[in-house]
């Protein structure tokens, strides 16, 4: 049999290329109504009064008073209401739905709804800490006390919009008393569980199905639960099929984004010019509700030494509440912010000490057996040395970095090193998710994969089938893997955190082995597997001590740029990447993740600007929130090195997020190399470069 990495044609490409794939907005149910959201036009205010005009027959409003259960969207931290009740905390917060047959009539009704507010003073500054985490390793106090020199830098990262090309959407109907929702979602069971709380419903009264998903990147992790809750309340009230689809402007204004972050780094340097201690203090802006922000912060803090081992560290971070749109999950989940700070800082330390950054970095590069930032252990082989060597060869890094240091070349090359913890942080997998997978063999010997994992473009329809096909030695078309439907599949957990192949795929592989042993032609057989944490993994959630992740994927990104000396426009010249994802289940699919991830990461670093002004996101559409186009895409070369992880299927680890997290520091370092100024902020826009050129 062929090596599992050798690529096959993706099983879902044909329907997508011929235009017949059904995304949520393509679904029609007869008698279907449309819903549109009435939103707060104030940043922070008390709702004094709402006057609804007389509604034409067949039109309805749906608000908090229609909720049979709790007015809360349940996801990790339950502090977001489904519909605002007495107060609004951000511009665009949902207050009610207007539902009816004709979209124009709905728009007309909405424009005639009068809401009387009593405005209050909003908070935009980082003063209201909702969560604080703090942990230490070694004795950083001593290191700082004995330091010969202390180096301090502040780093800042902006918003990033997922900008999945398909905006958010959900459609629902009542089937035999059951609320059935189909949406563009990453996590069918998150949606189901949230809806149950809002409707005060039993398990068999809610059903959630996945439509074909037009990109997600974390943006469809928790946000769809809000839409689903709103829609479910409307369905219970109106009892007719309803569709709720966002237009791009609405999507950009109100959906979750990557948290802006501020990171203060300090290094204690001893008499031998060694980094004796390091402190990192991070702040992330959650917006108006906490939601997943604590988990995002945790991942950021754990990444505070990046791909390096520093003996003595102290790490501290806060989640701040502000009266702005709630931020949430986005590919990388806190790591991109921190890895930007770490990679810049180690270069800035080297420059301050006047040593070659490469030398300094190699000295602290993590090795197998080292303690992680949380006193866990890097148990598996780390092959970064080979990866770095390969990436430098591919890009001619050494020669270029020297040549471009010369004043006035306006060319630059930058290299980032990074790791990404695979799966949920800490004890999430073992304590909260407890993933369950099933395989069902029919009398026709076809095997159905029953999992809740969603293909949002990352190719798991294909890779999951490949895993089963290889183990059972049966062709791909003998395997069925339909889009998840909570009435049919067990809860194998959400499609997030680079866990799908490693954790869910690992369970699928184990189930397939079980099935292989029990296989009898023509007989119906069902097998299942539940996640068990390896015994040696220990995690103290309160003190951040132990193994934060079961395994890590590693990467090296090199980006080359040219900066226009007149306009300071940055042009990408080339991108080279080397990754250790354990083992690729399908090489071309991983390469596709690599191309897309790095461009999204690099875009975050130099191009994608999003701001809020007085609590409102200024950017409205793809016309003013600019993402890379073909015109920005340089030649890209990716190389994978196998380093199989014993517990992953065929040795596979996570790949989805890894490919994004190193992009921003690589491009920022390239720009730093080109302009000979220290970059401390992303995105590195022409305006920022101009500021640096003027002020140093």
């Amino acid at each position: 049999m062929k090596d599992i990495s050798s690529s096959v044609r993706k099983v879902d490409s044909i329907i997508k290329m011929s235009g017949v794939a059904q995304y949520v907005d393509d679904i029609k149910i007869s008698g279907m109504l449309y819903a549109k959201t009435v939103r707060s036009t104030k940043v922070k205010a008390i709702i004094k009064n709402i006057i609804i005009p007389e509604l034409p027959s067949g039109y309805h409003t749906v608000d908090h008073s229609d909720i049979p259960g709790k007015n809360v969207v349940s996801i990790i931290f339950d502090d977001m209401p489904v519909f605002a009740e007495k107060e609004v905390k951000y511009y665009g917060e949902p207050i009610m739905l207007v539902v009816g047959e004709d979209k124009d009539v709905i728009t007309d009704i909405i424009s005639n709804i009068e809401i009387e507010y009593q405005e209050q003073t909003p908070v935009f500054e980082k003063i209201k800490s909702a969560i604080n985490y703090h942990f230490v390793k070694g004795d950083s106090n001593k290191a700082f006390k004995n330091a010969k020199k202390i180096i301090k830098y502040d780093y800042e990262t902006g918003y990033q919009e997922q900008l999945y090309i398909e905006p958010q959407g959900m459609i629902g109907e009542i089937e035999n008393n059951k609320v059935t929702l189909t949406g563009s979602i990453q996590c069918p069971y998150y949606v189901k569980n949230a809806v149950k709380v809002v409707l005060d419903a039993n398990d068999d009264e809610v059903r959630v199905k996945q439509a074909v998903v037009g990109g997600a990147f974390g943006g469809k992790e928790e946000f769809p639960s809000l839409m689903a809750c709103e829609l479910a309340v409307a369905l219970r009230k109106i009892k007719k099929p309803i569709k709720l689809i966002y237009e791009r402007e609405e999507d950009m204004q109100v959906t979750t984004k990557r948290h802006p972050a501020w990171i203060h780094m300090e290094a204690a340097i001893n008499e031998f010019n060694e980094i004796d201690g390091l402190t990192a203090k991070a702040a992330i802006d959650a917006g108006a509700s906490i939601g997943l922000s604590g988990v995002v912060l945790a991942r950021a803090l754990i990444a505070s030494t990046g791909a390096y081992t520093i003996e003595n560290i102290e790490v501290d971070g806060d989640v701040f509440l502000t009266n702005t749109v709630p931020n949430g999950a986005f590919r990388g989940f806190g790591a991109p912010q921190m890895l930007f700070a770490v990679e810049m800082f180690i270069h800035h330390i080297a420059k301050e000490l006047d040593i070659d950054p490469l030398e300094l970095r190699l000295k602290y590069l993590a090795k197998q057996g080292d303690a992680t930032s949380t006193r866990g252990k890097f148990r598996d082989p780390i092959i970064m040395n080979d990866m770095i060597k390969k990436a430098m060869e591919m890009s001619d890094y050494k020669n270029k970095v020297k040549a471009y240091e010369e004043e006035g070349t306006y060319k630059g090359i930058g290299m980032s090193w990074f790791l990404h913890g695979c799966g949920f942080t800490g004890s999430g997998e073992a304590d909260h998710i407890k993933a369950l997978v099933k395989l069902e063999k029919g009398a026709d010997d076809k095997v159905t994969i029953l999992i809740a994992a969603v293909d949002m473009g990352q190719g798991i329809q294909t890779t999951m089938k490949k895993i089963v096909s290889h183990i059972l030695n049966i062709p791909l078309d003998q395997i069925i893997y339909n889009k998840p439907d909570t009435d049919l599949v067990p809860d194998s957990g959400p499609t997030v955190a680079s866990r799908t192949i490693m954790i869910v795929g690992g369970l699928v592989a184990r189930a397939a082995k079980q099935l292989k042993e029990k296989w009898e032609d023509g007989k119906q057989i069902v097998v299942s597997e539940r996640y068990k944490q390896p015994e040696y993994i220990k995690w103290d959630e309160d003190n951040f001590i132990g193994d934060a992740y079961p395994a890590y994927s590693w990467g090296v990104n090199i980006v080359e740029v040219e900066v226009c000396p007149v306009t300071y426009q940055v042009t990408l010249v080339g991108i080279w990447s080397v990754y250790d994802v354990g083992k690729a289940i399908d090489e071309r699919i991983v390469m596709g993740q690599a191309d897309g991830g790095i461009l999204q990461g690099v875009g975050y670093g130099y191009l994608e600007v999003m701001r809020n002004e007085n609590g409102r996101i200024v950017h409205k559409n793809v016309t003013d929130y600019i993402i890379p186009t073909t015109g920005d895409t340089p030649p890209m070369e990716t190389f994978l090195i196998d380093n199989p992880y014993p517990l992953g299927p065929y040795g596979a680890k996570g790949a989805g997020e890894l490919t994004l997290v190193g992009g921003a520091p690589a491009v920022a370092l390239a720009i730093e190399n080109a302009i000979n100024k220290k970059v401390t902020r992303i995105p590195v826009t022409p305006e920022y470069i101009m500021e640096l050129m003027k002020n140093g």
């Binding site: 290329m17 999945y164 998903v213 037009g214 690599a594 191309d595 461009l599």
Partner: protein, 157 residues
């Protein structure tokens, strides 16, 4: 309201609607050609691209009234052609499809490009597809796919 007649995927059609209605909505809702996608609604992402008299146009900014007598091809119509087959194979072989939401527009843009320039360079491909946003693929594999289609489909365009 006005009666508008045009050719849609090789069929004569007629519809009575406001001439200011967006062609995108007409195609999706009245004719069920949902392969035409809405990504931005402002003519900037290319997800809603169709061919009108062989020219690529973003249907979200086309008023219905302007297509009288014209020949419109959506991805559904294009997918029945030999050229689509060649492009389809190339997109599959290069791995150019991820979530697929941009894909119908990308294929229409590729067709339009190859129609004008059957053997484009990488640079020309990038320019030809620069009106189509994709957030998943980083474009690399799409560019390779168009290049490979132009070779494999030699003589078709």
């Amino acid at each position: 309201m006005a009666k508008i007649k045009f050719t849609l995927n090789n069929k004569q059609v007629e519809i009575e609607k406001s001439p200011t209605a967006r062609l995108l909505d007409i195609l999706r809702e009245d004719f069920d050609f949902t392969g035409v996608k809405e990504g931005c609604g402002e003519g900037e992402c290319g997800a809603c691209a169709v061919l009108i008299n062989d020219q690529i146009v973003n249907s979200c900014i086309v008023p219905l009234g302007t297509v009288e007598g014209k020949n419109i091809v959506t991805i559904e119509g294009f997918s029945k052609t030999k050229r689509h087959e060649v492009l389809r194979n190339a997109f599959e072989e290069e791995g150019a499809v991820q979530c697929g939401f941009c894909t119908p527009g990308m294929l229409i843009a590729s067709e339009s490009l190859l129609n004008k320039n059957p053997h484009p360079t990488d640079e020309e491909i990038k320019i030809g597809l620069s009106g189509n946003l994709c957030r998943c693929t980083g474009y690399n594999m799409i560019i390779k796919a168009v290049k490979s289609a132009s070779k494999k489909g030699d003589g078709l365009w």
